[in-house]
Amino acid sequence: MSEPAVFNRIREEIAENPVTVFMKGSPIFPQCGFSAAVVGVLTHMNVKFKGIDVLSDQDIREGIKAFSNWPTIPQLYVKGEFVGGCDIVREMYQSGELQKLLKDKGVPFAEP
């Protein structure tokens, strides 16, 4: 079975942007509480990221779920690697694992 064409677009996005969030709405106006929570964590840590609004792109919306084998939005990618959804991001932030991951991957952040 050949893979969906949208996978290549997803690969390009996550290769181009060190930190990518597939989310509902934009980082300025998230359209869902879970997306807002992930944006909140990254903003709080002063991490530069690209938000991709899946609501404005049905191919990406369905494609990203298949790509990561993950049924929900938001989804956080760091340096091309799937990190998790809202619960995992929150848990990793609280335990310090997210900070460690960003540091290990060479992504700048600053905790207030």
Partner: protein, 77 residues
Amino acid sequence: MPMPAAEIERLIKQGIPDAKVTIEDLRGDGDHYAARVESTAFKGKSRVQQHQLVYRALGGRMGGELHALQLTTAAPE
């Protein structure tokens, strides 16, 4: 569409037989749940892989019928 907590627990245990499942109905509306799942099946797996096992047990309902399920997973100490 709301889904009873007992049904979520049943599905998880069906997919992960030794799972210890605790479910909290966050708003009392049968639609926003928090689940904690503990299983030896999670040993040596990343959080993403652990959640994927639970999602697989839920058989595609996550993100559909089940809109809001906060998930915490752990392997027993």
